[in-house]
Symmetry: C2
Subunit: 306 residues, 2 copies
């Protein structure tokens, strides 16, 4: 019988590692043209809003198929549904309801970028932002690197303090509160930028040589959280979905900068088809846009585990 999971079922600390490993499989499938990831499908209910479907799956030995659906209706209580079938025997593996899977998925994509782009001996993380995405990104970093310390900055002192104590407890690493963005990233091997800022809050000169940077927040011409000089300084610029960076209503923040043409697909780096970090001094940049179809793969791995 198909399993049904809800947010309260997705609390196991081991889920992040499971999600990252599942995504590694998905990105390898993508590099081999076996990841199914068609454009989103919107259906309008007049002025009420839309249902938006993202279908996804993997072809090959153990084929998966499924979808995520969310709505844009007006209300306080929103629900996403992700459903997964094993496509070789038509079995509905299960359904995952709620918000947590999506955050876990985005965090895990960040973790995969950190696994393949940051220095293997990275020990320190600087985090800008203290929301749900910042939490899952840090958890993902901790899942792929042996961290000693993280340092967080966000505008709201109360929130960054809560973030630090909560994450120190959850991940069992030292998490400090910084007084500024610059202080947070100053000594960081890994920088996670997961804010809602429409103006850059960190620049190339603020970074330690050899740092890896994940940008999860705004990154269009209308607004972006990272200084453009970080892309100039980066030896590698990667993204999970080059298609998606070209599909934003406002152009991608690197469009026209000369750096967008050298952006590579993270899937190709993972598969060894594109070059990643070459030296401990390289600055590397990962632009997280949310590769469609991957919610299904993460949901499948979680349904197998729980």
């Amino acid at each position: 019988m198909a399993k049904i999971l809800r947010d309260e079922d997705l609390v196991d600390g081991a889920l992040m590692t499971v999600a990252i490993d599942a995504l590694e499989t998905a990105f390898l499938a993508r590099a081999g043209n076996r990841l199914i990831s068609p454009p989103r499908h919107h259906v309008s209910f007049a002025d009420r809003g839309d249902l938006v479907f993202t279908v996804g799956g993997i072809l090959g030995d153990k084929p998966l198929a499924g979808f995520r659906v969310y709505e844009t209706f007006e209300g306080v209580e929103h629900s996403q549904i992700v459903a997964v079938w094993s496509a070789d025997d038509a079995r509905l593996k299960g359904i995952v309801l709620g918000e947590r899977l999506g955050n876990l998925r985005t965090g895990a994509i960040g973790g995969l970028a950190i696994r393949h782009l940051s220095a293997p001996d990275a020990r320190t993380v600087g985090i800008l932002g203290s929301g749900a995405q910042a939490r899952t990104q840090l958890a993902a970093a901790a899942a792929v690197r042996k961290l000693d310390r993280a340092r967080v900055y966000s505008r709201d002192e109360e929130k960054r303090t809560a973030f630090a104590s909560e994450m120190q407890h959850a991940l069992d690493i030292e998490v400090e509160v910084a007084g500024s963005a610059i202080e947070a990233v100053d000594d960081a091997d890994i920088v996670i930028c997961a804010t809602t800022s429409q103006t850059p809050i960190v620049h190339a000169g603020d970074l330690k040589p050899g740092a890896h940077v994940n940008t999860v927040g705004p990154k269009t011409h209308r607004g972006y959280e990272l200084g453009l000089d970080i892309a100039d300084a980066a030896a590698v610029i990667a993204t999970d979905s080059p298609e998606q960076t070209r599909a934003y209503a406002s152009p991608f923040f690197l469009a026209g900068s000369g750096n967008d043409s050298r952006m590579v697909d993270l899937a190709d780096i993972i598969a060894g088809k594109a070059t990643g970090r070459r030296s401990p001094e390289d600055t590397t940049l990962f632009c997280s846009v949310g590769l469609a179809g991957t919610e299904v793969v993460v949901a499948s791995a979680i349904l197998d585990m729980l």
Copy 2:
């Protein structure tokens, strides 16, 4: 918290009446252009099969939105998912899994046709076919007319005998087994044709004057279960979806017969915008094709009830 219902939850005998009444609301919404029913959306997973989405909903006072999804993968265990939101507050009302809702929906559409097209004093039913659709069609007829007796015929004697005893018990009316199709419909005020036959098994001359006929089985040029002379004899020919009758790969069985142009939308009959039965002697014909979007409306009513 969103309700999850499965086939085993959908056993209450009152569900059919709830489904028919919900569909009456949906058909009135359709007549008023408030039923959302876009074309199906197929996503292919290469040679494994497709996911097929049917989105649907109702606009107006208590707007509903949702979808049904099914797959065409190879396997023995298949699962449909229907999800419903109330579109005014973005609340996920629930999810219905399994096959039963779809059968209930198709049965209830047949019941709605019987309610609005058969003679108000219809007492007897002739059923051709003894599968799941025949069961729900008879249950639907019993929900809208005060029946004395039903008579069933299908090719497999064991199946028709099982059908008769099972339905007699379930509906508390006399259900007899007939030795032929002609014997089953001979004296019937209501004829339900729910077979897989590609050649006509009943003709106009077999029917009692004033009979109402539901055809649920094959009805394309490639094969059809009803004699074309039944359409010739019918004073009213209705369908739940004129669009769908024009969208079959093989043309609709009435295409080119001259009768297709006088086919009316059941929604318009229900709303009083088209003429239905005018006399006790009228033969009436309902061609059930499965109006898209209505699963969502039935699921919503069931989620409210259970």
